[in-house]
């Protein structure tokens, strides 16, 4: 049953690592003074709730901006790798969360939906006993005590249920989601990648049905994902929804993260437990 904690840890950290690596070819365009929006200009509208690279550099005085950028650029993947391995798990998760927030809030104008999900998933890596299952910490410290993972699993499930409910609720109160126009508009947004055009379906009820299917899946997520009989069907529906978002809107990372969270909460915990000495 507790395998889900291992699945959650390696997939969230692995996801954050791949996501971070994906922007490396353009890293300077996002973060440096050669980028499209200079860090100090970007910083003007950042709140002081969490640190930014410019703010941190102001505190450290002697460290130059580019040096600090390089330190964070290297430290973040290292902390994520340690989290994957389960080495100093809690400390690695805390450092990963701090650096993720530092890096994303430093380019807050470039933030989008996936970043908030990554933050809370990394926060849960700090809180959940994710280092107690298949980790180097277990090997090195020889921890064998039983953990009660039920409160953590409940929290993850409840969080996802609230998130999906509000995602569906904000859609259903908008007329364009009820008549199919919203999906049509999303699919014709600039820069969203689609494997092929679905324009040939304009004359069919496809867009209206898809919009309603999305809203029903999201609004009733909290109910049907928590009833064992309906769970497999609802989970398939949610995974298909995210695959659609990936393939027809190009939000690959967003979709991948949501699929990971759903499988962590509603699929892996249902699998038969595996005995291991790790």
């Amino acid at each position: 049953m507790k395998t889900w904690l291992f699945f959650f840890r390696i997939n969230i950290a692995g996801f954050a690592l791949i996501h971070f690596l994906s922007i490396q070819p353009d890293f300077n365009d996002l973060y440096s003074y050669h980028g499209y929006v200079y860090p100090d200009i970007m910083d003007n509208t950042t709140d002081t709730i969490s640190l930014t690279l410019t703010g941190l550099q102001g505190m450290l005085h002697k460290v130059g901006y580019e040096t600090l950028l390089w330190i964070c650029r290297i430290a973040f993947p290292i902390s994520l790798l340690m989290l994957i391995l389960g080495l100093f798990t809690r400390a690695s998760a805390i450092v990963s969360l701090f650096l993720q927030l530092l890096l994303i809030k430093s380019i807050h104008l470039y933030e989008y939906g996936v970043d908030g999900f990554t933050t809370f998933a990394l926060f849960y890596c700090c809180i959940f006993p994710v280092g107690r299952v298949y980790s180097l910490d277990n090997r090195l410290l020889g921890k064998r005590d039983n953990i009660d993972d039920r409160p953590y699993l409940f929290l993850l499930k409840a969080h996802l249920s609230i998130a999906y409910f509000f995602s569906g609720f904000d859609k259903v109160i908008g007329v364009t989601w009820r008549n199919g126009e919203a999906l049509w508009k999303v699919m014709h947004s600039h820069n969203y990648y689609s494997i092929f055009s679905l324009d040939f379906l304009a004359g069919t009820p496809f867009f209206v049905i898809s919009c309603w299917a999305t809203m029903i899946l999201e609004l009733a997520y909290g109910i049907f994902m928590n009833i064992s009989v309906t769970r497999p069907y609802w989970l398939i529906g949610i995974v298909l929804l995210h695959l659609f978002i990936a393939l027809f809107m190009g939000l690959f990372f967003f979709s991948a993260l949501l699929i990971i969270l759903n499988i962590s909460a509603y699929y892996v915990p249902m699998l038969k437990p595996v005995q291991s000495d790790l």
Binding site: V37, T45, F154, A163, F166, D170, K185, A202, G203, G250
Partner: protein, 188 residues
């Protein structure tokens, strides 16, 4: 005792997420319909969530995230196009993920070009800030493309595509770029 504390915190954490999202849904609904959001309950929640402790808590736990993605209405979007020496310039990136982030940024940045009307002081300051960012993007485009001219123009172009209803009524399904705002900067 430890378990009780854990469950207590879980209850608080979920309530926090619930309140943040309820207030956010209420506000975006009223914003979208240009209605005054005057619910005292929502005002109370917003005031409470604005307190420093809750702001720090929301930030470092990720609980401040709103989940109304693409909600109420899918916002319009467009492209930033520069022009220098008669050549069209765009912000090009090596990775798809970065271009997606840039796309999100230009959409957020240019919201006030699309929805003028709010003349509050905060909005005015943000508008001035957006112009500064706009200028910064223009300068970087200029430098990256080795532009030889002394001026660069950057325009925000709203991407227009016929609605589903219009396409069903035989309107040709074609993209159109509608130039909303152009700024010209002298760089030498």
């Amino acid at each position: 005792m430890k378990k009780r504390l854990l469950y207590g915190w879980i209850g608080f954490h979920l309530l926090f997420i619930l309140l943040i999202n309820s207030a956010s849904s209420y506000t975006s609904y009223h914003d979208f319909h240009h209605q005054k959001a005057n619910s005292q309950v929502v005002k109370g929640i917003t005031k409470l969530m604005g307190k420093k402790f809750f702001r720090y808590y929301g930030r470092y736990t990720g609980a401040e995230t709103g989940y109304g993605f693409f909600g109420i209405n899918v916002r319009s979007n467009g492209m930033l196009i520069g022009e220098c020496d008669g050549k069209e310039l765009t912000a090009d990136f090596k990775s798809y993920e970065t271009s997606l982030r840039f796309f999100s940024m230009t959409n957020a940045l240019t919201d006030d070009f699309i929805k003028p009307g709010d003349t509050s002081q905060v909005k005015n300051i943000m508008s001035e800030y957006n112009k500064l960012v706009f200028k910064n993007i223009a300068v970087t485009m200029f430098q990256k493309n080795g532009c030889q001219d002394s001026t660069i123009s950057v325009s925000y172009n709203l991407l227009s595509y016929p609605s589903l209803a219009a396409v069903r009524a035989d309107t040709p399904a074609r993209y159109q770029l509608i130039k909303l705002i152009t700024a010209t900067y002298s760089l030498r």
